[in-house]
Amino acid sequence: MGTGFPQADFRNTPHTAVVPFYLYAAVSLLAGSVLLFLSASLFTGHYFNPGSLAITHIMALGWGTMIILGASHQLVPVLTEKSLYSLRLAHLTFWLAACGIPLLVYGFYKMDMGWPAKWGGRLLLLAILVYVINLFRSLQHGKKMNVHAVYILTAALWLFITAFLGLTLVYNFTIPFLPQDILAYLPLHAHAGIIGWFLLLIIGVGSRLIPMFLISKYQQPRLLYVIYFLINGGLLFYQLSFLWLPAAPLLIPACLIGTGLFLFVFYCIQVFRQRIRKQVDEPMKISLLSVSMIVLPLLTVLVLSGRLLSGEHQLKTVQLYGFVIFFGWITALILGMTFKTLPFIIWNKVYHEKAGVEKTPNPNDLYNKKLFAVMALIYLAGFVLFSAGILLGMISLLQTGAVLLTGMAFLYCLNVYRVWKHKPV
């Protein structure tokens, strides 16, 4: 006897392919914040210095990329409607990246571009290659790709390009072969990562998860494709004009990408307005706040691309640009999304056998909400103070901001530990 409905092939990703990435990211956030405090005075000078390079890479790779890689192992099946191809490859990605990142960060901190930075870069590139293969094989079999899968795959390819460019720059320190100064290539590497990897992935994932969590009636895949082409078009224009049209105005790619971002904010507003679920929890609020925080780097990049500033002000704006991306937009999003996803992963592990039979706590009860609220407040205060410190060139503000951000990172780690070690009640 059967039913008239077609049966679905269903297989979730186990927590072992996800949780280690979250734990690694939490430790990286703490290390990055401590490093920010130790190097606070460097934020009054040029952005190209060992401290800034180390902080940028620990935040971009150890914090942002690691947690996104882990979460994407869990979310790829949700977004693409296909199971993850290989658990072994997911574990291999973790170990390669986990060994590569500290070596690379150490290399930058000590400005040692010998074996630590080179091996760090190689291991990282390999980790990303393994991730791309796993993702590609997961998407290969089955139905036609949806818009979210297109975003994720493109983002992963940009991540690979970013890492490849980065390793090329590391090699150029010891064996100079590039025609121009290394500083000329940094924006290519940085924007491939920030826009190609982080932005595309966040839009691809956010455009699926935000409506899912809010149970929204709003669906607009065409708009998402328009955003996809605007952002990729802008980024490609930027990268290719560097090689063939160096005099091309930066405002063209900035406007293309800016329009894409504006449309994504519009998409999120529509999703929010047409939601069925009226209650919005704290992690969701902070995630939505991060969507509006996209405006900050956009404003700074518009100022920079207009070439309106000179000398010291230009350098400060570049510092601010990097800070609002890694400690602002990306951090706010992850702070919110961690406590939207990790408690469910752990709840599933702990209460899988008990659901429906015994009374179980709500996954939202696995993290401490007061600790979360204090963390969010400290984070916002630290973020504002440090940003003001960069603009005003005041070391005392930078240090106070960094202390608050370190406090935020400590509370975040404490709450993550609490969720991770949750025992059945």
Binding site: T3, F5, A8, Q74, I215, R277, W347, A355, G356
Partner: protein, 108 residues
Amino acid sequence: MMNVISNHTMNATIALAALEQVIDPEIGLNVVDLGLIYQLDFDETEKIIYVTMTLTTQFCPMGDTLTAAVRRVLEKTFGERQVRVELCFDPPWTHERISEEGKRFLNQ
């Protein structure tokens, strides 16, 4: 019994009442009011209950837990019968499947 197909109305009513204990932990609403149950069939000769259900999103990470909970609740309610739960995403779940009670809950 809104939106649920069954070959045995009385048993289906009992089953749905029992399944109200199974809560989607993200939304906080039970699987019946969410409209996740598509079909309940009772094979009286083989003593098997066939459940066809869906999830609010394909490959929802809670999928395994929810299907296992549905199976356990029905095994407990109907004693000696076997329960077979199948997932189905065609047709996909939409918000229109949420019951009036469920909509009131989400509107709070």
